[in-house]
């Protein structure tokens, strides 16, 4: 299917516009006395991978349920493909969505074929050879086709996830909603699934994924929405958000004696200076100043042990956002990613 041609708004306005597949605005949802969502807003541009990040209980699953119309908001508006999923239009919305829930939601007494045939019929693919061919194709995409004859109750967790993923793409949905899609998978399978998710957006699909695994979202997310206590704290492209939190380049210098680095605080090109024991974190006007700073440190008597440019990861960003919004969790590290855990990028550039 040529999905791009279905985007007249984006085509007509070029780079000045982006079509939103999901536009949730100011949504509240109560379950009895508990407010699960509070003024939640989510925008998912067409063809993107948007990742909902947040701790357990942040409202990510409820948000997905709101998007398919499985739950109606108490306040606010939810529009998917320009329709309100909580009305009679919900049927059309759901027919264009593929959902993988946190638990695979499969019928253990049935075999793989029957599970997928059930979905195929409910999503209007009908029965017969054409539907079976489509089922086989979807199952092969996730490498579960060889096990379709077996009863699902005997599947491993990974196999169930693969079958659930196959089921979600059976009807060639325009929007994939994935709630912790790699939960319970071994690292190899998880990487394969993430790779397939990437491929799907390449085919024009839009993906909204929930996770609390930051490494999983790293490099995958075109857009992120950080959620906490049922509300969206911040959203946007990771790079743009990182630039906002860390506007100047940052470098970390370590020396055998950290105090020997303090002379750099007033050096040319240094915007901010902060030291914790042997490591100084410097905000710079430009990374071009690094060689001069190292030379100055050495000239000042410091025995420099490492020089590491700091490239903020999604994890750094996530914790920075949560800290900014008053999270009281002790393990949230201070700004600048000094969590003691090197990010993937910085680890590879250690001197």
């Amino acid at each position: 299917m040529d999905r791009e041609s279905e985007n007249p708004v984006a085509e007509s306005q070029g780079n000045q516009a982006r079509e939103l597949v999901v536009d949730v605005s100011g949504v509240d949802r109560w379950f009895g006395d508990v407010q699960a969502l509070t003024n939640l807003s989510i925008e998912v541009p067409k063809g993107s991978i948007t990742v909902l990040l947040g701790p357990n209980g942040a409202g990510k699953t409820t948000a997905i349920r709101m998007i398919t119309g499985a739950l109606a908001p108490d306040n606010g508006t939810s529009r998917v493909f320009g329709m309100d999923p909580a009305t009679a239009d919900g049927e059309e919305v759901r027919a264009r969505c593929g959902v993988v829930s946190a638990k695979p939601s499969l019928y253990d007494r049935l075999n793989g074929w029957d599970n997928l045939r059930y979905a195929a019929e409910l999503y209007g693919l009908g029965r017969g050879k054409a539907a079976d061919a489509r089922i086989e194709e979807a199952a092969a995409t996730f490498g579960i086709d060889a096990a379709l004859d077996h009863q699902v109750g005997g599947y491993s967790t990974g196999m169930k996830t693969r079958l659930a993923l196959s089921r979600s793409i059976l009807h060639d949905p325009d929007l994939l909603l994935l709630d912790e899609p790699t939960s319970g998978l071994d690292p190899e399978s998880a990487l394969a699934v993430l790779d397939l998710i990437r491929q799907m957006t390449g085919q024009g699909r839009t993906v909204l994924m929930c996770t609390h695994l930051l490494l999983e979202a790293e490099g995958l997310a075109d857009e992120i929405v950080v959620m906490q206590h049922g509300t969206s704290l911040l959203s946007g492209r990771p790079d743009d958000l990182a630039t906002r939190y860390w506007p100047q380049p940052i470098v970390r210098l370590s020396a055998e004696s950290g105090a020997d680095l303090d002379g750099l605080a007033n050096a040319s090109g240094v915007v901010t200076y902060e030291r914790s024991e042997e490591t100084a974190t410097l905000g710079l006007q430009s990374l071009d100043h690094v060689p001069d700073l190292v030379a100055a440190a050495v000239a000042g008597g410091a025995r420099v042990t490492s020089t590491v440019p700091f490239v903020p990861t999604l994890e750094d960003l996530y914790f920075a956002v949560r800290r900014d919004h008053g999270s009281t969790i002790d393990e949230i590290p201070p700004p600048g990613g000094s969590s003691g855990r090197p990010s993937r990028e910085t680890a590879s550039t250690q001197a």
């Binding site: 499985a70 019929e121 509300t231």
Partner: protein, 305 residues
Amino acid sequence: MTTISPDQATKPVTAPIKKSANQKGGSGDGKMNWSRAFTVARTDLKQLVQARDFWVPMMLLGSFFFVIIPTILLLTITRIGDVETVARISETLEVLPQQAQEQLRGDSPEGQTGYALAVFLFAPVAVIVPLTISTAVGAATIVGEREKGTGEFLAHSPAGAREIYIGKLIASVVPGYVTTVVGFSAYSLIVNLTVGPEVGGWFFPTAQWWLMILWILPPFLLICLSLVLRLSAKVKSTAAAQQASGLISLPLIMIAYSQATGVLFGAGNVAIYLGAAAWVLAIVSLTRGVRSVTRSRLLGVASGI
């Protein structure tokens, strides 16, 4: 919420919202799609077929009531010829209503007794078996989806709540009613083979039994299931659903039994009116029952669950 984009001037564009005539309700159900309802029913029945631990006891129940007990009793009377037993049962026939007594066929006490037992005594069998089986299936059907987590799949699917309800209803009716039809056929054969020779040939099913099986039993089954499905949608667990549905189905079994007996005793047109009233009640009850299935209940997040 703070939203950052590379170009703050870039304005998100959302396709214009489509107006819908329907009010918000979280179900978003439009036109009834029967194909989807049958798909739900077929899948539930497939799972039931796989559940040997369920259908083996149910088959035994049907066999016990429709085959084993009638065979033993009727053979005792017609073949073994236990004179004392026949005499005692013959005496009890005198308490039957006049209308029923006039229907008795056969010249010998064995023939008359066998006929009376076959036609009148086993009426409850045709009521107890389907109601028991269908209640057991229906009680688990919606709460079971929630417990197994498959309710999440249904809630996100395009299937409407009404389609799911009808599908579940069909899947609950079929096992009970099919068992009854099969059991009834076996029972007819047994009756004709054992009592037939004593009363001058095959005579079963009688018109009253046809009336009961085709006209009286189905609406009572539907009334019972409409209540049981409502329960299944609202309770927290399958165990709770089965306990509560037992409380509902028991009085219904008693009512159905008394009505069925009345029909067999030859209440004539009354049976037709009674059946018609039961059908009306069943339709009303089912229509109201549809509302009990909601997506939030399938997800297990509705208040009270």
